[in-house]
Symmetry: C2
């Protein structure tokens, strides 16, 4: 098959960037990875490793680079760094861009799309939402527990041929992918789960989702936070149904002792994506006139508990 995006740069060699980059490369694209700390180890081994669905897949040879200048212009930049590191992107991306280069930013929460659109033009930007459970288990090595799916959308308007062909390329590479009609709406829908569960598991002292669901008061707070996200989204023109809220809660108990990515970061002493997941949604919802008292309190607490850049 043809590859609508034959040359791809992956910025961010954590679990997400490795997973999608390896998939696309094994699918036939020329994928160039920008690496930092893992570069020497990856070059020494000569490959990237993906463990998924009981199998070990190896990408060899690997195109691993230390700087965007060595990579040069590509058709697609896949941005898969934490939102907390977003400030490095304006300095990092320009060598990767020609006039037609698209940027797909697979980042959590709200704000990353706009941040890149302001600097590189909204027409370049596609947003991605990863519904996946995976971990980086070593340099250039990722273990995927559940491949889940990827949702992509256009930042600047409804999706057209570009988004559909990118989705097709992901799909052909083994990534279940759907195209969202409205990217912002898709991001708010994802927050219905992330805001309560990523937040309460940290704020309640570092507990997994099963303990939140089993505690009647915390479970009710999770539902109340979902309703605040719904109210914020509605005020911004993105209605979310009650049925969606109900379903997002109901899928959680069967997950067992699941640790959301933010809790994993918190417990590992890494920076948590406070502003993308709680701060920016809180600000946008409040600015649109929605009442989000629980989200506001949760954000203020998390910022103090888990945001390393808050001065102590």
């Amino acid at each position: 098959m043809s590859h609508p995006f034959p040359k791809i740069a992956v910025v961010g060699s954590g679990a997400l960037g490795l997973y999608y980059g390896i998939r696309l490369a094994l699918g036939g694209a020329q994928v160039r990875f920008l690496l930092r700390g893992d570069l020497a180890a990856v070059r020494a081994r000569g490959s990237l490793l993906l463990h998924v669905e009981g199998a070990r897949q190896e990408l060899r040879p690997v195109q691993a680079f230390a700087s965007p200048e060595e990579i040069g212009p590509v058709d697609l930049v896949l941005v898969a760094i934490k939102t907390t590191a977003g400030a490095i992107l304006p300095g990092l991306l320009p060598p990767l861009l020609d006039t037609r280069t698209a940027i797909l930013t697979v980042q959590n929460g709200l704000g990353a799309d706009e941040f890149l659109a302001e600097r590189f033009g909204g027409e370049r930007i596609l947003g991605g939402l990863a519904f996946i459970a995976n971990n980086r288990i070593g340099p250039g090595e990722v273990f995927c527990y559940h491949p889940g799916s990827l949702t992509i959308g256009e930042f600047a308007g409804p999706p057209g041929e570009r988004a559909r062909s990118l989705a097709d390329q992901f799909q052909a590479a083994g990534v279940k992918t759907r195209v969202a009609g409205n990217l912002a709406s898709a991001r708010w829908h994802k927050l219905v789960w992330n805001i309560p569960f990523n937040g309460l598991t940290i704020a309640a002292g570092g507990i997994a989702t099963d303990r939140v669901c089993a505690d009647p008061l915390l479970a009710e707070e999770a539902r109340a936070l979902m309703r605040e996200v719904q109210a914020g989204a509605a005020a911004l023109g993105h209605p979310i149904t009650d049925e969606f809220l109900r379903q997002q809660f109901e899928v959680t108990p069967p997950m067992g002792a699941y640790q959301p990515s933010s809790l994993v970061d918190f417990l590992a002493g890494r920076e948590v994506e406070i502003e993308a997941i709680w701060g920016e949604p809180r600000r946008r919802a409040a600015a649109a006139g929605a009442a989000v008292p629980r989200l506001t309190l949760l954000h203020a607490l998390l910022r103090r508990i888990a945001h390393k850049s808050v001065s102590s």
Copy 2:
């Protein structure tokens, strides 16, 4: 002077019970202390010790007892145990009571007055609010940083001769005391400070009040929680002025790195008075129709973070 309550039993030999008991005893009343763990040490030394305002005061001899039966009926029972231990009182108090015995319960938050009123009759019950900073520093030994003041009120109605004469007796013993016209209103007024500051200092990760005030988002959450307490109190018929809220916030920054009693308990691994300070006010405010979303979330989080009896 005469002592309207010549025979007094003190139940609870923590900082509060020791402080008021020693004061009243040095003021001339016969004060009998019910002791448990500290009994042997206190009897061996033969005294109780109070450090206050640069001086060391000794109460010798001390009437220290192991059981309420040994104490027998008194004129006043001063209850100064934590609300979390309240369940022992129905078994403990009967030997101390004759038909006229008054019970003054100096406990935090809401619920202790009603609990005792239901079991021993509302007409016996006086409630006390201690505005004081002190610590038990050893068996039968208390260090008082700031004697502050005591507010007392009648549970069953407006204060009369009994409350005034008890206040006079405290006052004569060196305890600045005022009589509240409405005990429930006084308790809600005290919660205006305790609910935000005792709670946020724990929920934000164990920080002193200065860090709450210096964090713009947490400071705003403290003010928002004060407004929820105000709304709850108003719905229950206890209006609190905006000026009172403003003043309760303004006194806090000058306190410096103050650790509220609940934070001290939390950091020491002791049980925190979750239900008295957050749970019962939340329930009463919600039942009266007040919107208390932040209080509800804060209660649910604290219950998980700090309540030892929540199953893990």
